[in-house]
Amino acid sequence: MNELTPFDPHSELTLALRYSGKLLLRKEIPLDHATFQQLLNQQQFIPHASIIRKFSGPKCNRCNNQKRSLFGIIPCQICRKQHLYCRKCIEMGRVLECESLYSWQGSKPDWLSHANPCSWIGELTKRQKLASERIVEAVTNLEKELLIWAVCGAGKTEMLYAGITSALKKGKRVCLATPRADVVRELLPRFRQAFSSVHIQGLYGGSKDNDGTAQLILATTHQLLRFQAAFDLMIIDEVDAFPFHADPSLPYATSRAKNETSTTIYLTATPRKMHRKRIARNNLAHIFVPVRFHGHPLPVPTMKMSLNLRKSIQRFLPPNHFFTWLKNRRTPSRQLLLFVPTINLAERMGEKLIEKLLISEDITSELDLVTVHASDVNREEKVMQFRNKEILILITTTILERGVTFPSVDVAVIDAGHEVFDEAALVQISGRAGRSIDDPDGEVVFFHDGKTDAMVKAIRSIKSMNRRGGFK
């Protein structure tokens, strides 16, 4: 327990810390009935309708779902009536129409003004420094929003430290939101090291330390559905990433979790059209970081056309060109990240490739090749093993396209023309190569049976970022 947290669970201070800035269901408030009723009578807790019916249809006040098809009807045994519940946000606990959402109106917590919160001792590159200073400026001047467009591997986490430091010095509350739980898990230890005196929590589905009382919070965007008017500085990592741009309830949650006078920092390596347009029209402040932290250009992907790709895939194998390439890689000591479009293909290809590569002696043990995908329970462990170089080849779906860093890999995309590989995904995937200062390069190959727009645009955009970074 944080030494500043008082022990009495009913003290004003604890209640304020625990419930301020939230929007919760009764079952998310671990107080006994009597205490809760008393706080309700004193109007410290305020009830809000959870699902409202408007002329246009129902609306969930937690996730803003307004799609009729995403509401279910339940003959409720609690209130003995038939009514709606929200299916959209049910993973976060079911919202029933007969239950309220509660916000805290009691006293506000006093967040600490840290004199010197940052314990990070690294140094920024010139480019990182420019971005870092720009973020501090935005925080200091209470600017509404700022977009950081930083190439994959620019070292964006370190660029954030100064801005977060200046917010913590002023006693502000900070949140870094990301669409992916992997990213929260990867950043949490780094943040705990960089801000060792600050109470930090990581919130994601299944996280343990999850009461959301820390001054500095790293959270998946889903978890922000439980917050309201909580944060003074909101950093949205990978703002372009699925499912953030595809699911309107997540931008909604992120924006509700902010205070009125908050500053929002968007981070992205591949801004979506909406943001590019706003940048072009000059109504979104931004700064571009075109160079990786180690000063080398982004690896430019090559395309390999294989007419027999469909046939190979039907047999759950990569095309023949892949094997030729595998034998002739410039740096065979690098690990290999193999992207495939679907979970099924990942699993089946894993089995087939193990057989084949054992025979060709490209691997010496079946443990050298591992498959990972979104619904894999051992996902964290496998990623860790790959990072520790205990695995030579990792077959993955797009779940590893971003947010994870491996020091020295070559990257192959099998069936790069598949629709899951859009421009942003391909740029991100290519960005997995050449991440370390000891091996700043890497081969990236798109295996396809017909060039797509996404492939061409991804390569064009990588080249253009390199040009903006002053290469060639």
Binding site: I73, I74, C76, R94
Partner: protein
């Protein structure tokens, strides 16, 4: 004698947990057709003089969940449903060991007399202890025949 529609596997487990524990009531409808069809095949000639009795939840569990999944399944069937069992104490079955589950005292009480044949309805058959307790109670009260029908067999 118990009959079931599906065998327990990870995919069904996932679906059941979304339906029951996350409380996504509508998901139950996924099972409706198979449940009704298998029921007809299993009990075809006995349907006319039988009633179905869903295994109840404890009050506590019912207030938490908002619905009783067994009653929901029973409602799919074209047979008269009578909710004549109540749960006396509401400990979680899953927290007990297998032996404890089997030897525990009868958790149900009966609040009506039945002269019809009874088909007990539950979502999962694991050790059969729950259904056996309910069946014993009904037989002692003079019920001519008790069988059971569950969605899943563990």
């Amino acid at each position: 004698m118990n009959q079931s529609v599906f065998l327990y596997n990870p995919a069904i487990k996932e679906m059941i947990s979304k339906w029951k524990y996350r409380g996504d009531y509508c998901l139950g409808d996924i099972f409706k057709e198979s449940f009704v069809q298998t029921f007809k095949t299993a009990f075809g000639n006995e349907i006319n003089d039988s009633i179905v009795v869903p295994i109840p939840l404890s009050d506590e569990r019912l207030l938490e969940r908002g619905f009783n999944q067994s009653a929901m399944l029973a409602d799919y069937l074209q047979v008269e449903k009578k909710e004549i069992l109540t749960r006396i104490h509401g400990e979680k079955q899953s927290k007990k060991t297998r032996i404890e589950r089997i030897s525990a005292r009868n958790p149900f009480s009966l609040n009506a007399v039945v002269s019809n044949k009874v088909i007990l309805i539950d979502d999962i058959y694991t050790t059969g202890a729950t259904l056996r307790h309910a069946a014993t109670l009904l037989q002692e009260a003079g019920c001519p025949k008790v069988s059971s029908f569950t969605l899943i067999r563990g």
